[in-house]
C-alpha cells in the first residue's frame, strides 16, 4: 500500500497551484461582491489545458483518471478560490462523461474538442423545482415531432447558464407511470442553449455569487435528433455512471476549502495577541483547529481511496458517497472554526473565512444532499430497507 501521490500527480498539484496563485484573495472577494464571472481564472485554467484532464486524449484531453482530477480540483479550491473557482470548471471535468461513453463518434467529434479547449461552456440542467432529489419525478417534457424534439418545462439551479453555450438536459420522453422503474423514461440531450426558447433567470444566493445558478424556463425548445445522447429513455441511467466521479470531485473540492480555512485560522491564531499571548496558545483555539486538520486529512484519504477504486475499475459507490458525506461535513466544520478563531474579524470579508464558510455549504447540498448519501450507504452498504 502506498499513500503517496505519484511524481506525476505532485507535478499536477504544483502546476495548478502556480496558476491559481495568480488569483489572489482580492480577486475572489471582488468577484464575490460584483457577481462577475471569473473569466480570467477560467481562461488561465483553459490555457493550461486543465479542463480536459479526464477527457480522452483523442479529443484534446489528457486521458487521466479521477485521482488526478481530484488533485486538480483540490488545488483549485485550496488556493482560496473555493467554489467560485471550482464551479467555473467543475462541469468540464466529468460532466461530458455521458458523451464520451454513450455518444456516437460524430457527437464526440462535434462536442468534446470545443468543451476541452474552453471554446464552449456547458451547463447541466437536471434539477427541477417540483422534483427535487426525486429525479424520477422530473416533468420537463421532450416530445418527438418528426426529426426533432420539442422541450417544455422548468429547471432550477442550473449553474453557469448565464454564460453557457450548451446545456446538458434531462427530460421525460415517456410518462413515469408507463415505466417499470423510475429511472426509465428520461432522455439525455446535449444541445445549444437557445436563449430565444429558454429564459434564464439568476437566483440570488448565499455564496459563490460569481458563478451564477439559475432558473430555466424552457418554452418549445427545438432539439435536433442528433443532439440526443444514446437511446431514448435511458438518460438517467447514463448520468448514474458519472455520479461517483462527481462525488469524489466534490469531496476533493470541500477538503481544499477546509484546509485553506484551517491555514488561515492557524496563521491568525499565531499572530493575534489577546490577554498577552497569541490566541493560538489557548487550547480552546488550537484544539478545534488541530481536530479539523485531522478530519480533513481523513476526508482527503477517503476521497483518494474512492478515486483509486474508480480508476482501478472497482466498485466505488460506497467510498465515493462516504467521501462526499464526510469531506463536506468536516470542511464545513473547519470553515466555521476558522471564522470563530478570527473573533470579530471572522465576520469581516477582508479575512476571507466568512466567504469560505458560505461557499463550503454547497458541497453539503449539491449535487446531492447529505441525507440522500446516507440513504445510499444505509441501503447499499448496511443492507437496511430503503426509506424513500
Amino acid at each position: 500500500m502506498d499513500f503517496a501521490l505519484t511524481e506525476h500527480q505532485r507535478s499536477i498539484d504544483e502546476s495548478v497551484r502556480r496558476v491559481c496563485a495568480q488569483f489572489e484573495d482580492a480577486y475572489w472577494l471582488d468577484h464575490d461582491r460584483s457577481g462577475d464571472f471569473p473569466i480570467e481564472f477560467r481562461q488561465a485554467m483553459t490555457e493550461g489545458g486543465w479542463l480536459g484532464i479526464a477527457m480522452p486524449e483523442r479529443y484534446g484531453g489528457a486521458g487521466l483518471g479521477i485521482t488526478e482530477a481530484a488533485v486538480l480540483m483540490h488545488a483549485v479550491t485550496n488556493s482560496g478560490g473555493a467554489m467560485s473557482a471550482a464551479s467555473t470548471m467543475h462541469i468540464n471535468i466529468f460532466g461530458p462523461h455521458p458523451i464520451v461513453v454513450y455518444g456516437d463518434e460524430v457527437q464526440r467529434e462535434r462536442w468534446l474538442p470545443p468543451l476541452i479547449a474552453g471554446k464552449e461552456i456547458a451547463c447541466f440542467a437536471v434539477t427541477e423545482p417540483d422534483a427535487g432529489l426525486d429525479t424520477g419525478s422530473l416533468t420537463t417534457q421532450a416530445r418527438l415531432e418528426g426529426d426533432h424534439y420539442v422541450v417544455r418545462g422548468r429547471k432550477i439551479w442550473t449553474s453557469t447558464a448565464q454564460v453557457a453555450d450548451r446545456v446538458m438536459l434531462l427530460a421525460r420522453t415517456s410518462p413515469r407511470e408507463a415505466q417499470g422503474s423510475s429511472v426509465d423514461g428520461l432522455t439525455l440531450f446535449y444541445t445549444r442553449l437557445d436563449r430565444d426558447r429558454i429564459s434564464v433567470r439568476e437566483i440570488d444566493k448565499m455564496g459563490r455569487k460569481a458563478v451564477d445558478s439559475n432558473e430555466l424556463f424552457i418554452d418549445d425548445l427545438i432539439v435536433p435528433m442528433e443532439d440526443r445522447i444514446g437511446e431514448e429513455g435511458k438518460g438517467f441511467r447514463y448520468l448514474l455512471d458519472g455520479l461517483n466521479p462527481e462525488r469524489i470531485l466534490i469531496a476533493a473540492e470541500a477538503v481544499g476549502i477546509g484546509r485553506n480555512a484551517v491555514d488561515r485560522a492557524a496563521r491568525y491564531a499565531r499572530d493575534r495577541v489577546v490577554f498577552g499571548r497569541p490566541i493560538g496558545q489557548n487550547q480552546a483555539i488550537q484544539h478545534p483547529l488541530a481536530r479539523s486538520w485531522a478530519e480533513l486529512e481523513a476526508g482527503w484519504l477517503l476521497a483518494l481511496k474512492a478515486a483509486w477504486a474508480y480508476d482501478a475499475g472497482q466498485p466505488s459507490g460506497a467510498a465515493a458517497n462516504a467521501a462526499k458525506y464526510f469531506a463536506s461535513e468536516v470542511a464545513f466544520t473547519a470553515c466555521e472554526r476558522a471564522v470563530m478563531t478570527h473573533g470579530g474579524m471572522g465576520y469581516a470579508k477582508e479575512f476571507q473565512v466568512e466567504r469560505l464558510l458560505r461557499e463550503v455549504l454547497i458541497p453539503r447540498i449539491a449535487p446531492v444532499s447529505q441525507e440522500m448519501v446516507l440513504c445510499y450507504l444505509a441501503e447499499r452498504v448496511l443492507d437496511l430497507p430503503r426509506s424513500y
Partner: protein, 267 residues
C-alpha cells in the same frame, strides 16, 4: 575576487543557431516552507518537506526556452546533481519545455565546486554554446557555482543578469550591480547567472506535463564523469536564528538613554 567586471574573451566560435543551452537546476526547500533545523543540529530537516525548483533556476530555464523559441538555440538541456528525487525537479523543467534532462545522482547535494566540476564534465560532453544558471540557490545562498564553472571552463561570464539577448553573434547582457546597471557583450561560449528581474517563468501546462513524461532523462554518476565530489567543507553545527524577544516600552527619553547605557550597553 570580482568576476564579471572584466570580460573574458576567448577565441572560440561565436553564437550559432544550432546552439545547445545547458541549464543546471537545483532542488531546494520550497520558498514558502518554514525551515526547521534537525534536532541533532547536523543540518536542515528535509524529510517530508515540500521541495521545489530553486526559483532562480526557473528563471534560467525560462530564459533558455525563450532563446530557443526565438530561434537562437536548438535544444535546451537541463541537468541536476544530487539525490534521486532531483529527477522530479528535472521533470518539472521538462514540463516547462526543456528538451531533455541529465541527472547526476549522488547521496547528498554536492558543494558548489563539485557541482561546477560536474557541470564542466557535462559541458565537455554536450558542447553547449551557453550555460544559464540561477545566480544562487535559495537554500545555501552560496552564489558560487556559475562563477566557478566559468573559471574552470575559461569561458565568458555574466553574473546577476536582468536582460539577455543574442545580437551579432554575441550575448548581450545587462547586469544588476551596486549603483546601477552594467551592459556587457559576451563572446560565446558563455556562462551567465540570472537575477530575479530577467523574466517571469511560465507555468507547466497539462499537455506539457504529459509530454514531459516521455522526454529523455539520462542518468549519470560523478564516477562516470570522473569527477571527485567528496565534500571539502565540514558542517560543524546548524542553528536556527535566535528568535527576537519582545520589545520594551519606555516612558521617556531619559529612560531610553538609561536602558541603552546600562542594559544594552551600546552607548
Amino acid at each position: 575576487m570580482s568576476f564579471g567586471q572584466s570580460i573574458i574573451f576567448n577565441e572560440i566560435q561565436g553564437v550559432s543557431h544550432q546552439m545547445k543551452i545547458l541549464v543546471p537546476i537545483k532542488r531546494v526547500i520550497d520558498a514558502n516552507i518554514k525551515v526547521r533545523v534537525k534536532s541533532d543540529q547536523s543540518g536542515v530537516e528535509l524529510n517530508n518537506v515540500k521541495m521545489a525548483m530553486n526559483p532562480f533556476c526557473e528563471i534560467a530555464v525560462e530564459a533558455a526556452l525563450r532563446l530557443r523559441e526565438a530561434g537562437e538555440a536548438e535544444e535546451v538541456i537541463v541537468v541536476c546533481a544530487g539525490p534521486a528525487n532531483g529527477k522530479e525537479t528535472l521533470r518539472t523543467a521538462l514540463a516547462m519545455g526543456a528538451d531533455r534532462a541529465i541527472h547526476i545522482e549522488s547521496e547528498d547535494s554536492p558543494e558548489p565546486l563539485a557541482v561546477a566540476k560536474l557541470l564542466k564534465a557535462v559541458v565537455e560532453r554536450e558542447k553547449p554554446g551557453l550555460v544559464i544558471l540561477g545566480k544562487q540557490a535559495i537554500d545555501g545562498d552560496n552564489n558560487q557555482t556559475g562563477q566557478m564553472l566559468s573559471a574552470l571552463l575559461n569561458w565568458s561570464l555574466g553574473t546577476f543578469i536582468s536582460r539577455l539577448s543574442v545580437e551579432d553573434g554575441a550575448f548581450h547582457v545587462t547586469r544588476e550591480v551596486d549603483g546601477g546597471l552594467e551592459n556587457l557583450k559576451l563572446s560565446g561560449p558563455a556562462v551567465v547567472t540570472v537575477d530575479l528581474r530577467l523574466n517571469e517563468p511560465r507555468y507547466a501546462s497539462l499537455p506539457n506535463i504529459m509530454k514531459a513524461k516521455k522526454k529523455p532523462m539520462e542518468e549519470l554518476t560523478a564516477a562516470a564523469l570522473d569527477v571527485d565530489i567528496t565534500p571539502r567543507l565540514t558542517v560543524l553545527k546548524v542553528e536556527a536564528p535566535a528568535s527576537r524577544s519582545a520589545g520594551v516600552r519606555v516612558h521617556d527619553a531619559a529612560e531610553l538613554v538609561d536602558k541603552l547605557k546600562n542594559e544594552a550597553k551600546v552607548i
